[in-house]
Amino acid sequence: MAEDTAYDNVTSVEARRAAEALIVDVDGFEGPLDLLLTLSRTQKVDLRRVSVLQLSEQYLAFIETARDLRIELAADYLVMAAWLAFLKSRLLLPPDPAEEGPSGEELAAHLAFQLERLQAMREMAARLMGRDQKGRDFFVRGVPETMARLRRVTYSATLLDLMQAYARIRTRDEFRPFVMDRDRILTLEQALDRMRPLIGFAGDWTDLSSYLPDGWTDDPGLRRSATAATFAASLQLAKEGALELRQSELYAPIQLRRRPRDD
């Protein structure tokens, strides 16, 4: 602790005791203004008539004592000390007409005002806390009845909301690039459905392209889809053991035929 080192350097018991008192005091004050207010009470006059010069000297003496006792003071106490030293010089010296800013008297008056205002607020705080208080001096209803709140909710929607919602859903479809239009796609299922009854007639090797449904051969897009689906379907049927596939060379037409019965 910082205070401990301060104690160690103080030799006499009396000085130590004084130091202790001072520490307690400094701790007990809520800042320099509070300290000043306390010091001003020693003047035993109305705060409006307090001698700021005398107060400054009291404060500076206090700070000096604290320093002698090597008590660590918070920075704001030292700032106030510096300011009061300045104020004191202003008050003692005759005013310099070339000097800018408020006069020593004005500064002193403002300080006196601040002290008076702080004092007034303290008195008001005390008066406030001295008033009758709820839950201590007067009381509220012990069994407040909870008011039943019947909340009726009505929902609103306009025709415009409705149409916008529908428009939103329908246009959202256009944003789904991976969902392709069904009517331009021959699905594997469709191809299988188509091929299953047909392969019964294919006793001999037949070109895969001849299995494409009518109307799917002219448009390149349609033919591509139909070819892919039919090929996939034929692979599926081959796997099931229903037909055989062959291709003479790379890129040559794929041929298929019904798998001969084992009998």
Binding site: F139, V140, R141, G142, V143, E145, M147, A148, R149, L150, R151, R152, V153, T154, Y155, S156, A157, T158, L159, L160, D161, L162, M163, Q164, A165, Y166, A167, R168, I169, R170, T171, R172, D173, E174, F175, R176, P177, D181, R184, G221
Partner: protein, 218 residues
């Protein structure tokens, strides 16, 4: 202090009855639970007669907005029964229909009769039970005939109440997508493949049942 010498008189005089009545009044008011006569006497100054003060207090409050009532062995203030209606407050709150609800409603309106599975397919997300229930409760949709497909799913159709609310003569009056677009309700279309853009249109015409809705899914 007072006549301590007098052996008949208690050490301290009980407060006047009017004062005792005030005390009972304050205690009953502030207490969370009904208070019995014994407790009243215990809390009041020595010599007070809570039972008698209660008689006065009850008389004073007879016919007032609050009354002193007996609850078992204890006493309490209660609101006069005829004023109970003041203790409830009805607030009417108007809320916007949720996005899910309005979309579901729109689909029912444009595609009716429509099953829940179909609604989900069109919206691309599942439809919560709460959403459908809310629309049913608002009486904007109702159950239609069951679909004659496996599982015989129930269908939804819009109601008279719906037409009324939206100022429509019948659901066929709903504008189609082309009209919506012309009215500026559709934002400019995204630039997709050349095919996608061109094909949205025929799909729309399927979807908008301005010819004969009923047959669409049947």
């Amino acid at each position: 202090m007072t006549d301590a010498a007098n052996p008949e008189r208690p050490l301290f005089d009980a407060p006047p009855m009017a004062e005792q009545e005030r005390m009972v009044e304050a205690i009953l008011f502030a207490s969370a639970d009904p208070v019995g006569v014994a407790e009243l006497n215990a809390r009041m100054p020595h010599g007070a007669d809570a039972a008698e003060a209660l008689v006065h207090l009850r008389r004073r409050y007879a016919g007032r907005g609050v009354e002193v009532v007996r609850v078992g062995d204890a006493w309490a203030f209660r609101t006069a029964p005829d004023l109970g209606f003041l203790m409830q407050k009805e607030t009417v709150e108007t809320r916007k229909l949720s996005r899910a609800a309005i979309e579901t409603l729109a689909i029912v309106a444009y595609h009716q009769p429509v099953t829940r599975a179909e609604i989900e397919e069109i919206r691309g997300v599942s439809v919560s039970r709460g959403t459908v229930d809310q629309l049913l409760e608002l009486e904007w949709i109702k159950f239609g005939r069951r679909r004659m497909t496996p599982g015989r799913p129930v269908t939804y159709v819009v109601t008279e109440e719906f037409l009324d609310h939206f100022g429509l003569e019948n659901a066929r009056d709903l504008p189609g997508l082309k009209e919506l677009r012309a009215a500026g309700l559709l934002e400019s279309r995204p630039q997709m493949g050349p095919m996608a853009a061109g094909e949205a249109e025929p799909d729309d015409d399927d979807a908008v049942p301005d010819t004969d809705q009923g047959e669409m899914f049947e």
